[in-house]
Amino acid sequence: MFVELNNLLNTTPDRAEQGKLTLLCDAKTDGSFLVHHFLSFYLKANCKVCFVALIQSFSHYSIVGQKLGVSLTMARERGQLVFLEGLKSAVDVVFQAQKEPHPLQFLREANAGNLKPLFEFVREALKPIDSGEARWTYPVLLVDDLSVLLSLGMGAVAVLDFIHYCRATVCWELKGNMVVLVHDSGDAEDEENDILLNGLSHQSHLILRAEGLATGFCRDVHGQLRILWRRPSQPTVHRDQSFTYQYKIQDKSVSFFAKGMSPAVL
């Protein structure tokens, strides 16, 4: 996890809020550093994490996790991390007929189905064990990323339904957190993606939006991060708080600074 980002979000692994949906969004840049941040954050907070990783392999997250101070292999071995590796599972599903329902079963179907098997998988992974002792603090669901589900033939409504079911189970019933990543296609006129993004923006408590700089590529400032706090359940008496920072990604951390205050410029 990035300590500077924790300071900006005013949170630490010990006293993070529960029952929240965080939306990560990237436009014209790569926002995957935020996924790595939240993965290591919740593992350090001793939460039970279910990670639906659709876009990269396990070793990718594992190697970056090591740089951030968590070991995904060990977390998986001791049961703290349930990892669904989308790429490997897709190969299994497409080339071999599965006997039991598989979370990515929709890949075999001709028309757009629903994500019920995936939801069942998540529910099974995060359900509290009735052994009496509470090993983990609260469950967390991480999805990287939802836009891939649209590319695989799912409709935006099916994905929104899946998130709704997950929210009801993870956030409300189990008092856990959810973090999902969606790409913002910008001017690519991807209607399904826009429906998904807008729908999720209205439901989430915290939106982190990583954008590329409007002026183009820069070696010292990799992008801009907009943080937006929302209270979707309560009527908004005060305006939603929003902050903007610029960031530079380094080998093991990300440094944040106010707009125009990059160390390279000062």
Partner: protein
Amino acid sequence: MAAAATCGSVAASTGSAVATASKNNVTSFQRRGRRASGTNDSGPRLVSITGTRPSVRNGQLLVSTGLPALDQLLGGGLAVGTVLLIEEDKYNIYSPLLFKYFLAEGIVNGHTLLVASAKEDPANILQELPAPLLDDKCKKEFDEDVYNHKTPESNIKMKIAWRYQLLPKMEQIGPVSSSRFGHYYDASKRMPQELIEASNWHGFFLPEKISSTLKVEPCSLTPGYTKLLQFIQNIIYEEGFDGSNPQKKQRNILRIGIQNLGSPLWGDDICCAENGGNSHSLTKFLYVLRGLLRTSLSACIITMPTHLIQNKAIIARVTTLSDIVVGLESFIGSERETNPLYKDYHGLIHIRQIPRLNNLICDESDVKDLAFKLKRKLFTIEMCWPPHYSWIHPANYLLRALILLFPLPRTMQIKITTIMSYPSNWCIF
């Protein structure tokens, strides 16, 4: 990525000049040969595959794309397990060249090839591969060729940069391995027949395969894509590139080349209609292909006619599902053909995306305005003025003169272009 992960740990244990992630207070530099555990047993064998080298940044195993100039821009080469997507130029003249360079590099290094096309028989594609320039004699010959070619006009151009006229054009960054990484090819000559026959290659020609009775699994992909995926998966399993076949111990790279993916010849209609019935076929194919590649020792090049795809959303999705995306824009038929700024070049090359693999950052080149030109023996990529520049302010020459008149040591030479680059729409006056 299994291959990269073991390679990452291998790089740490062999003490090479690659700094990988260090655990708490344990340095990742270890003496060669100290670790003898089972997982690192395959280490030396992985590193010793011909035609590969570990990346300087994170120990990732890289293969050459066949163009040393492009390798430099991509941070050393194409990572094993990833897809290089080439967005074809409008008349499909230069993208087949990059495709052929990739395959020719595979033959020269002894890699296994898998060539898939819906238009041309793979055997014909292999016959048309360019001949490699293999010995040092040829390299000296090509250096002279470039030098002689450059001298008449370069006397005018290199007036300010005259000290750099004497230095060779190509600078290799990164560790120089003993066996050559990245070869040069002569586009006017054909690859010798004996090299092609000695290589191990598999061809997938769609018109032949579509009529045969391969078992087709139910899937919503177009039949052409389904057959191609099954073919690739078959080769990977049969020849042991994913390590799952107990009989086959493969220590070689599989180079997959797919030509004109997405064109109507593959049975896909994304180039014909805006909201066709098969709009998810291509993206599903790319996703499953990515899954196959990440779990095997293979690298893939795909050329795609993105300028024909009607729905821009599909292009955005395809870009997300590919690792490296390079766009070619040739000047033929456009108004830039007569633009004096571009008289030496054949087109622009856009590096649209570079992956961040096993890392938070990637090796992005600072130079965003690149042009290519094809000479007989060389496909060069150079920095050029951004397209929207219509005139060159004299201050630019002055700036260049100030920096270039004071010669920097050779190791800094490659940085000249990066010092002079700036965000693409920043104009200096």
